[in-house]
Symmetry: C2
Subunit: 204 residues, 2 copies
């Protein structure tokens, strides 16, 4: 199978980190694909009209997106219920943390896009709102860090771990660790996993 | 259960439309909640730090988001596998169409936010990119309209139907129907469902 891929996309990293956890990384052919918000990629749009990565193309031509669906697909072909719990209540809990990690990433991507606009085209109300939501998300994650740290590793951990790693990668001056010690301690254990080490962001 | 709700949010509509399909609408207490991208809502953020709707709060205090997870939760408590197919291949196919509808909505929300910025703060490259992706998404939906129209109604139909309805609601001058006749015909059948009629967008 072929994955539209980038070493800097946090949503791609979620997929590749899951693939490593599931023992599937060797089966994925990575195709370097550029997908910037303001630059539609015509080749990518033949597989995904939204022009977003990750987008997975199976050998029979079936296309799968977004990252949430690709992760669930990989979990399924790896036997099922490894990163997505089978029990309904646990499944919804993992999915909610997955959505929290994804929402944090959506927020950071928008915040970075706004920050990097040319002078004059930048909206201060948006930048302030994004900063407020970032703080609130970090505070919420700190409050529940001990709870999710105690749970078996699942797709929620993948998403929150990649979210914090992306925050470190793109907001290098925001020192979140001192004010969020439990979350920082959990993230250290996440970052030490072979799957996280194998999928580190590459700047460029 | 309590739902942070708005009559103008397409993601909320997806949840309420699903609730109507599943016979659960009467069990949901709707709480009118404002959630604009540039205006964090402190009350909402106590339940969801991302300040986004829909956010569902169960009677025992458990909080569930985003719309994808709430829809799956509602499907589960309604007996399961009604809007989310049980069979793996069909489930992934429905989830991919769900992601396509959601991605279309994300795109339209960003496009509307950009369009409505004050003069000078508007980015023409972003507006052009959003228009290009909108066209590509409509073209892709037209290509697969006959295929998904033939499938039993599932969460993918909910998302694509709400996506097109939101496009009509917020981009009133974009006449997409003449160039996409199969998609338009399918959307007529969607709009005639009691669940769609009960959840129509309300302007204000």
């Amino acid at each position: 199978m072929k994955l539209h891929w980038s070493p800097r996309s946090p949503f791609v990293r979620k997929v590749m980190l899951s693939a490593h956890e599931l023992g599937l990384a060797d089966r994925i052919e990575r195709v370097r694909t550029l997908a910037a918000m303001s630059q539609p990629n015509a080749a990518l749009m033949r597989d995904n009209p939204l022009s977003k990565i990750p987008t997975l193309v199976l050998d029979d031509g079936t296309v799968i997106y977004d990252s949430v669906v690709i992760c669930e697909y990989l979990d399924g072909i790896a036997g099922g219920h490894r990163l997505f719990p089978a029990d309904f209540k646990r499944r919804i809990d993992a999915a909610r943390r997955h959505a929290l990690g994804n929402g944090f990433l959506d927020l950071l991507v928008l915040r970075r896009n706004e920050r990097d606009r040319p002078d004059g085209a930048r909206s201060e109300p948006h930048l302030e709102a994004f900063a407020t939501k970032t703080e609130a998300t970090l505070a919420a994650l700190e409050r529940e860090a001990d709870s999710f740290a105690a749970k078996p590793f699942d797709i929620g951990h993948v998403a929150i771990g990649c979210g914090l790693a992306y925050f470190d990668f793109r907001f290098t001056t925001d020192a979140w660790r001192p004010a969020h010690p439990r979350l920082a301690a959990w993230h250290d254990t996440f970052s030490a996993r072979p799957s996280a080490i194998a999928t580190k962001f590459v700047d460029g």
